[in-house]
Amino acid sequence: MPNYRIHKTEYIDETKRVSFKYDGKTYFGYEGDTLASALLANGIHLVGRSFKYHRPRGIISCGAEEPNAICQIGSKKDLTEPNVRATELELYEGLEASSQNCWPNVKFDIGGINNFISPLIPAGFYYKTFMWPKSFWKKVYEPLIRLSAGLGKSPTEPDPDIYDHKHVHYDVLVIGGGVSGIIAAKMAAKNNLKTLLVDDKKILGGSTIYQNNENIKIDDKLSSEWLKNEIQEIKKLSNLTIKTRTSIAAYHGYNFLLAKENLTDHLPEEKKKNKIRQRLWKIRAKKVVIATGSIERPLVFNNNDRPGILLSNSINKYLDYYGVTCGENIILFTNNDSAYETSISLHKKGIKNLIVDLRKSASSELIKQAESLGIKIYFNHVVTNTFGYRKINSLEIMKLSEDGNTTVGNKIRLSCDCLGMSGGWTPMVHMHTQSGGKLDFRDEDQVFLPKENSEDQISVGSCNGDFDLENIIDKTVNKINKFLEIDNQDYQDTNIICSKENDTRNIWLLPNKIPLGKTKCFIDFQNDSTAKDIKLALKEGFRSIEHVKRYTTTGMATDQGKLSNMHALGIIADTAGVKMGTLGTTTFRPPFTPLTFGTLVGRNVGKFFEVVRKTSMHEWHVENNAEFENVGQWKRPWYYPKNGENMHDAVQRESKAARDSAGILDASTLGKIDIQGSDASEFLNRVYTNAWSKLAIGKCRYGLMLNEDGMVYDDGVTTRISENHYLMTTTTGGAANVLSKLEDYLQTEWPELDVYLTSVTDHYSTASICGPNSKKILNKLFPNLDLSDENFPHMSFKEDKLENINCRIMRISFTGEQSYEINIESKYGHSLWKMCIEAGKEFNLTPYGTETMHLLRAEKGFIIVGQDTDGTMTPSDLQMDWIVSKKKFDFIGKRSLYRSDTVREDRKQLVGLLTDDPKEILEEGAQIVSDVKSKPIDMLGHVTSSYFSPNLNKSIALAVVRSGKTMKGQKLIIPMENKNINVTVSDTIFLDKENKRLNA
């Protein structure tokens, strides 16, 4: 096996050998490697296939910008993870990784045929081709495309790992631990500011930490040595927290940032167990220093995507940091000075290399050094083509014309096994723009720079466009002093020697004799968009960068265009003949690098996913086999199946028992609001449609609450407990909103009212007993209470004691039966329930759930807000005009009840429906029509509630129908998939129209 690890570095521990599997084969690396560096050390460049043409692709970079080396980690159904960048993944013992987007394997990929038919699949191919016939998309095109494309596989079972969230507050957050970040953090922390420094790498130091060129020095030391000292210094600062392996994912307003800390991803499997895998930091910082550095640009020329073609600076890092050379015969292709550092480093390690430079000449110290070492430099030359299928083996260069627009002279063919490209540097302005910052464009080296730093955010270092060390340090120090309003002198006398010069010759699309249509000049490596695609989009009329991006998919891959966006913009600007600065950029959206769902969700999984509210009777319901229904956050018994009953049978039995003898319902979840104060009656007058002033103490009244637009909002029974004390009940789901609404009016519209509101929903448990035998059961529970209709009539309230515990008993009914609601402090709720059940045994007291409750009230035509109403129903629409006071001067929503729209006669109105076949049960939500032949069919309304009533032995339904009030007796049709159901409009009350049962 070849070994490209050619020298020792302090970052690779050669005493700790690590074995790992890649595409099923076992390899070795060392502790300190990334998966990418270990693969390169084994001579592996080919790591994947491109998305569209399935071209072989190699590792191109050494960081977050990597578009090619993305892999699938692990193979377990619950732990596998797609789209992991090999350049960021730290190697650990037992790591299993495989390449993505290739079948059957990376070396022989059947989709590679797309490469040869590529003239047939231009930009927008999918949009243009797979449009017709329309029905083919879902069944034919999409499954086929997904089969051969797709990036990786998602896990199919729940993630077993633990994730965590942490909230922190700092005076200063510094993003990025390179030279400028370290200086900023030190200055802040030394001036008594609580500071957090985050960096996504394992160690601090950025790209300076492995710098070893003697032409770049600080205080007479190699810049890397100087920086190591600084790092030692800042580690001692008590005000400074340093978080490595931590990357900022999002920068939101008000300096609220999200960071992902990787805690175990670098550990071997057995050490990961029972540890928190990743932690999401939610950071609030008074001030933020952005020092995220810059990313080297590729160059756009024909066949610039072969394995073995990397960014020049990445070759340098693999060499000086990991001790790995990317080849043995390397060509560096550049338009600026930085590739010369790489060249000199390679040369020192004995790696043969030469330089192709777009510039006509250059003369910095660095270039003189390269020349003196005898490194061959082709100035004013351009790479026009590369060769080699699975790896580059040679390339062609040509001379550039004077203006750089064409090539001249003869081709020179050079052999190589690796090509480094450097198209200059792109400042990482993601954080700046995510925070709302705008950008400026600097023409001389074609970069977007942060504009007008706000008072609480600043960019320093190369993300601010300062590329040479002298500039980086001086400017950072000055800016930080000003930004933090401090006067730090630590770097006053720092002596910096930097022989690099910021002199580039920028050509976005390099010239070639071959027509563009026949070249493959890649811009977005992962999504396979080429210069030709961009030009085609422009030709087809696209102008906005946002449109070109979506049409060509440039910058839309998992790397989010970190390497490609600038070139796309540049080519658009050149082609359209406009200045690049005027084009703007696409939007930089979070996350900067992909986040796992686990990190975002944190601990809120499984039973912590959502709050669950249970009544104090809950355990009894569980023991008695209840099926539960979620109502808001509440778990409510839905029905209690007995002896293998299905839902229908259980509900029929429960409903019948409640009307024949007695039923009991856990009504604890109904919202309860305690209302007190000398203006309580006036307040109720204003919030309900009916009048409350004359309600006697000890009496109850049903109320309907509207929104200001006149639409029904909530309903419930309110009891007058004493002169200035009411207890209001609301629907279960509406409780919180009703309280908020009432508070809103009290605080903002009627602050003069003396009223106090307290939610007591959780304070009381409620058992509701109904049916002809309910009075007898109550009598057993409260033998001293006079239950006669004279003393305790319907809609009244009494207090009594149950074994010395106070109970509030309301005689109110939601079923139409004689009915009592017993309220007790919640801690006694379970006992109360059991005592009720015990007392009711001889009367077949049957516990019933929400489904039976709904059925029983539907028999009586009582509405359920939210089921029979949907925010567009007025009281009149519900045929409830009786509850709207004509006398009251005002109440919430009153004026809206006679707007031109609400008085329309043809509004949808609540009616009853009876099916011609009494056994036929309608589907809730079914549409209602009068004529199925006319087209389009005129929809008159829909079914809101539908049940089979065991007490009436027929199907009943409530519905909203246009002009329904006037349609009683009329025949209508419910068209279903296979048949039309005939129905007759009826009254909304199906049972006991005279309300005899209330006092039976």
Partner: protein, 93 residues
């Protein structure tokens, strides 16, 4: 994510608050006197300004108090916070 300076509790995270739309829309004292158009103006019409906007906020997961906020919607900066019933700061008119 805003930091909102509740006039009763101090600076808190936006997640503790709920927004209640435009501020200083007073419920008419005599709704019955209003024409449909006038009532609709109160009921439905809201400004949606790019720039300085007066808003109602409720510290719903805190003291549950309503209060007013002056916010520049173009950059989300909260310029002023004041209690219900207090006059809006004149310098932002």
């Amino acid at each position: 994510m805003f930091l909102i300076n509740c006039p009763f509790c101090g600076e808190r995270d936006q997640s503790e608050f709920s927004s209640g739309g435009e501020a200083h829309i007073v419920r008419p004292k005599q709704p019955t006197e209003l024409s449909d158009d006038e009532w609709a103006e109160y009921l439905f019409m809201r400004k949606n300004i790019k720039g300085i906007q007066f808003e109602r906020w409720n510290h719903v997961h805190g003291c549950r108090k309503w209060f007013n906020v002056v916010r520049d919607t173009s950059n989300d900066k909260i310029l002023s916070v004041y209690k219900m019933g207090e006059k809006p700061p004149v310098n932002y008119k």
